[in-house]
Structure formats: structure tokens, C-alpha cells
Amino acid sequence: MNDMNDVLKRKNRKYNFGFIDENSKREIRRKILKAVAIPGYQVPFGSRELPIARGWGTGGLQITLSLIGPDDILKVIDQGCDFSVNAVNLKRFIQKTTGVEITEDTLKATIIQTRHRIPEEKMGENQILVFQVPYPEVLRTVEPSEAVTREMHAEMNYSKLWVYLYEEIVKWGEITIGARYPVKVNGRYIMDPSPIPRWDVPKLHMAETLYLFGAGREKRIYAIPPYTRVEPLEFDDFKFNVESFDGKACSLCGSTDTFLDEIFNSETGQKTYICSDTSYCSKVSARKKVSHE
């Protein structure tokens, strides 16, 4: 754990702790509190310029930088992976500007910033999961105008979205939305849960962990507090379902109960599967290795 004094000693730094200035953090913090108080509602905020392009996780990054302190332990994942370009660069940036400890262990982290996955291991009460959100407006698919979608949320007028889902069933025999599956939060707002797979949607419901969502380009923050009802949209006669991996297992750790990525070998034409959550996969592999020895 980092000693705060060590951080304070870094007098030569030419930027504030966590890069963004205290006034900006204060605004983001106020917006986070309002987002928590109105679950699922998108709170507008003044998204700041950062040394990273908008659309590459700046919303999540600004939330993380406003939350983080010297005692925090940070994990950053991209599609479940600790080592992909987006995750590594964000991690390096946060580490450089705060000096916090970095981990790959889901259960050790106090803050996890994520792009498009919720970790397989169940997170606890003392953790916060920060989502990077590319498109926060769940109604954008059916309505291009921001003014109109805001009115629709105000009036709880979600009929266009319901019709869209119905038409999907009529056209394709199923709802084809793979990621960004719409959910209703606390019985009031329909929300975009960021492009997490359907597999992760049930983890939002009555979770122990605080979920914060940041969209830097679109300048929105929203939240799901712990123990909040989160229901994927479904019809009485057409229920929500998650991806099926029946008969498939991770080729590295052998897990059959995780979200799997398909790896296609173009030379052999062979398909193999590995866990999307690399940290979990490594843990299971290590456990198996120990038990074999």
C-alpha cells in the first residue's frame, strides 16, 4: 500500500494528483452523487480534455481520477483482459499521475475500471466498478434527437424502444442485441449498461458493488447503487436470455461457466475458446496446476 507521504513527496510533478484539477474533480464528484441518488438517470457533466482521445475511455477515466486516492488499489480491464492496449495505457496513465498500486486480481482491487465486461469473480461491498461508456443514450437507436430522448426519459415514454424489440423478434425470431442490452433501473429509467455482453447483465441486479458509468465524449455520468433492481427488457412471452456456451470450455483453464471468447485459426479452420476474463482464467489455471502437483 502506498504511503500518502510518498505521494506528497513527489513535489516535482507538474500536474495535480490524478492529473485533473481539484475544481474539475469537485464537479465530477457532485455529479456522481446526483447519479447515485437518481439510479439510471444520465447526469450531464463538463467532460475534461485529457491526454487520451475521447472515445477511448475518458468518461470512465475521469470518474476513476475523481474517486482515486493514495490508498486505493486499481485494476483496469478491456474486454476482460488486463493486458490489452486500452487497459495498459489507462493503467499506466493513472499509475503515473497517482502512484497507486496496480493489481490484476479482481478481489484485491478497490477500484476497477472496465471496458465492456464485468469480472467473473463476484465483487464485494468495498469495491467500485467504473464502466467506460461509448454511447450512454439507450434510446439513440430509435430516436436521433437528444432533446427528444430527454423528453422521452422525462415522460417514461419508452414505447419506441419496446416496438424496436418487438420488430426484432418479428424479423429475426429473436432480439439480436448482443451487447448494450437495455435494462430498467429501479423501475424508472431505461438505461444502456455499456457494451457488456448479455452474460453480464444479470450481475447488475441487486449487486453488492457500486457501479458508475462514464461517457467522456457524450459528457454523461450515471450509476447503479448497490442492491438496486435492474431488469433487462423482456416480454411475457419472450424472455431475456444470455449467451449459451453449451458444450464449450476454456482451452486454457477448462472453465465451462464463464464468458468465452472464440479464437479462430485461419490456417487450420479450428475454433477454440478461452475465458474473456484473463485474471479469473489465470487463477483457475494456477489452482489446477497446484492441485495436480
Partner: protein, 202 residues
């Protein structure tokens, strides 16, 4: 006056505690560990929260009972602007006084429910209460997002009619106000607009 209060790190840790309490209504966090503003300062804990949340981009209003000097201190140390009560982003009051002004606080619009007031209220003490033991005349039974089943908190120095006024102001969800209670010992309890409050009196 603020020489011992390290703004960057103390504000971060105080915010995390307020966020934790706002995310889990009924959960009490204590901010007394952080270096104080000034020895013997009456509203030391409250001022720490105000410095954490207020700046020149937001406005505040204060009940007369808090005193003119405290109003000046808040304006000076946060840079926040004093405003009319109906347009204030933050409203600062004591919990023991009956405060009809709560009904005039801005509660947002259906398009922008976040454009609403946050009340920061000083009370005498906040104690975690349990269902079977009533510790105080004003035990709050809370239910809603952030709470698994129910949570309980006993608050002393809170006029129960203020709770009725808060409930009235929050009757049309998502419109409403969010409340942060802070006691003399640095205990923080939050009542976001989503929480259902029942007062249990022995």
C-alpha cells in the same frame, strides 16, 4: 484557519465516505479522522464536507440559525455563491429547527432532475440502530436502492417534522432533494431521494 486541512487528499477521502453513505443509505461513515479546520470550531465536520463539495460553480443558502459568521466562512473557504433559497444548489441547516424552507428548495425538472438541491443538515448525533433495539426517540427505518432489506439509524437533534417535509418534497420521484446529515462527531448519514423513510417513535 485551513492550514491543517489538506484539500486534495482529505477531500478525496471525505468524498469517498459521503459517496459510500449516499450509495448505501443507513450506512454511517465517520470523517473525524481527518485533520480539522480549526480547534473548537462549531461546524468543523460540516465545513469539511462543504469544502469537499462546494466551489464557485455552485450556490448555497443557509438557515438563519446557523449564524451569519458561518455563512461568511462557507463563502470564503469554498468560493461558493450565496443565493436565494429557491435557486440554491446546496441548503445548509440545523436539523433541530423546524424548516419549512425545505418545501421551497429546487427539486429539478423531469428533464433535469439532477438540477436539484442537496441539503446538508447538522444534527446532534447519528447512531447505527438495529431493528429490535430502539436507541432513540427518532429511529429512521430506511428502504430503497442501496439497501438490501432495511436499514436503521437513530438520529438525535432532528426535528421529525423535517422528515415529513423532506418526504413531501420527494413525493414526485425523480424530482426531489438529497440530504446529507452530519453530526457533531463527524458521522455522516445520507438520505437520497429514492429512500423510503419511516420514523419509528417509542
Amino acid at each position: 484557519m485551513l492550514k491543517d486541512f489538506e484539500s486534495c487528499f482529505n477531500c478525496q477521502r471525505i468524498f469517498r465516505m459521503v459517496l459510500d453513505s449516499m450509495s448505501r443509505p443507513g450506512k454511517i461513515n465517520n470523517i473525524n479522522d481527518f485533520s480539522g479546520i480549526k480547534d473548537g470550531y462549531q461546524y468543523d465536520s460540516m465545513l469539511k464536507i462543504l469544502i469537499t463539495l462546494l466551489d464557485n460553480e455552485v450556490t448555497f443558502s443557509m438557515s438563519a440559525q446557523m449564524g451569519e459568521q458561518f455563512k461568511k466562512d462557507v463563502a470564503e473557504f469554498t468560493g461558493s455563491i450565496i443565493s436565494e433559497i429557491q435557486s440554491a444548489d446546496f441548503y445548509i441547516a440545523r436539523g433541530n429547527e423546524l424548516n419549512h424552507e425545505i418545501l421551497r428548495l429546487k427539486k429539478g425538472t423531469l428533464q433535469f432532475p439532477d438540477d436539484s438541491c442537496t441539503v446538508i443538515m447538522a444534527v446532534d448525533s447519528i447512531i447505527r440502530a438495529v431493528a429490535e433495539h430502539s436507541l432513540s426517540a427518532s429511529r429512521l427505518r430506511l428502504q430503497g436502492p442501496g439497501i438490501k432489506d432495511y436499514s436503521f439509524a437513530a438520529v438525535e437533534g432532528l426535528n421529525l417534522q423535517n422528515i415529513d417535509l423532506i418526504k413531501q418534497r420527494n413525493a414526485e420521484y425523480p424530482l426531489g432533494i438529497d440530504v446529507i446529515l452530519i453530526d457533531d462527531y463527524g458521522n455522516v448519514l445520507c438520505l437520497p431521494r429514492t429512500v423510503k423513510i419511516e420514523v419509528e417513535v417509542d
